[in-house]
Symmetry: C2
Subunit: 274 residues, 2 copies
């Protein structure tokens, strides 16, 4: 069984039955005493391999890779970008953090700003939040009805299918944390003035909608898990496990592409630089 299969959204998925603190791979799963250090080192090594493969992307001018990170506040989207993709050469790789839409963005359909940011050939793009907010926060706050939400699921499936059929590999990660874990992470941010920049009082207001968010996530994941754009549910109460799992799935997918540098030009070898 591949690592992707282990974490792929299961049939009949129920978010409440999914343990956010599971340790299914690495030294942590094996119960090694020094598991944390071993798994961190392993993630670092995988990150290097991802970086090497991404260089081939750029050289081969193919394919397009889109990675989507979604999760509740404090679930570790920023941390994942740093730990898993921190070693990737920014040449040909970008992270896009979608904030609340601007007025110009609101005047267009909600996929407009997202489509502009999708990867080009040979590019790796990481979405920190994404068009999925339009079926999460938008639904939780009832800015849209259930019927409109269903319509959006269909738009999103269509959009991702088009991207896939035009050469984009799409991997979607739901960073799953427990309500208790969020509590302690928010408390930690409040306790440390150096972390206050990451805190928004709005986060506490959103936390009150915890159950509605869990429900919106469960529905959205089920409605938009497709063969061409699968969802992976990542147990994220442990940052170490989260990073190791995501890094492993990305590497597994990149290795499956069997990428190689474009063939050299024999004529070039004969050239002499004066």
């Amino acid at each position: 069984m591949s690592i992707a299969e282990v974490f792929h959204l299961p049939q009949g998925f129920k978010l409440k039955d999914s343990d956010a603190n599971r340790k299914l791979i690495g030294a942590a799963a094996a119960g090694q005493p020094d598991a944390k250090a071993v798994d961190k080192l392993q993630t670092l090594r995988i990150g290097e391999k991802i970086s090497d493969l991404q260089e081939i992307f750029v050289a081969a001018h193919a394919p397009k890779l889109l990675i989507i990170l979604q999760g509740m506040d404090t679930s570790g989207k920023d941390g994942t970008v740093k730990a898993v993709f921190g070693q990737v050469n920014p040449l040909g790789a970008r992270t896009v953090a979608f904030k609340a839409p601007s007025n110009a963005e609101k005047d267009h359909d909600y996929l407009w700003r997202v489509h502009q940011e999708v990867p080009a050939k040979g590019e790796m793009v990481i979405f920190n939040r994404s068009h999925y907010e339009e079926v999460l926060i938008a639904r939780v706050h009832e800015w849209i009805t259930a019927a409109e939400c269903e319509q959006r699921y269909a738009h999103i499936r269509d959009f991702e299918r088009m991207l896939s059929e035009t050469g984009t590999i799409i991997l979607k990660f739901f960073l799953h944390i427990s309500k208790d874990e969020q509590k302690s992470r928010l408390q930690e941010r409040l306790a440390d003035p150096a972390k206050h920049w990451k805190f928004d009082p709005q986060d506490l207001a959103e936390r009150e909608h915890w159950d509605a968010y869990q429900d919106a996530y469960e529905r959205a994941l089920k409605a938009t898990d497709t063969p061409y754009a699968p969802w992976y549910v990542i147990p994220s109460d442990s940052k170490t496990q989260r990073n190791l799992v995501i890094a492993s799935i990305v590497l597994e997918r990149l290795e499956s592409l069997q990428l190689s540098f474009p063939p050299g030009n024999p004529e070039f070898s004969k050239l002499k630089v004066e």
Copy 2:
């Protein structure tokens, strides 16, 4: 029967059975001796009404209007823009002429550059050529297979449905000219040095693919005519008839929206400017 219904792509549409020189509305259809002058004046008047209604668009900040013009070389896309939309206030209206894609555009899916240009709320956008080139020239020159072309029809239907469901009114016009009419228009361009800037030797090469283009158009129109983004087949051998028909259909659609200026603010009436 509305004018739109007269020109809407019929069931079992066959392009070769469609007379590009039909005169179905206006003084020309009635056989008036001064038909040309009368119909031109009528188009001008309709253009004024379109301009008035578009002002309400801007004021009301709704809806979004997308007009797509497609047709063979010399079919009169530029002329239509001038004759029908020439009086519209550029504030809130734009024409986008899609040329051969740039390298950056080719590195993305073919809807990427198109999506960027769709109308915002309260905006009227006219596409002079469009994403339809991706199932026309691309298919005629066999840059894509028949199966890929079918896939693109589906992408386009999905894309236009999403635009429609997020508030865009879409009207698509196929400017239908006969092969003889194209011959005389191309010859005319060659005879007049002042028109040489509009001539591209490539036009003659494309003309050799006339039958393949007719076939590609017929298939594309049939595959992408939908309730939310209908195709209108415009007899365009006569420029006067073409302009009158398109102007009439656009006006009819805008009038059906029953737009009105946003309500005034009674407080404003009491303000005194010193």
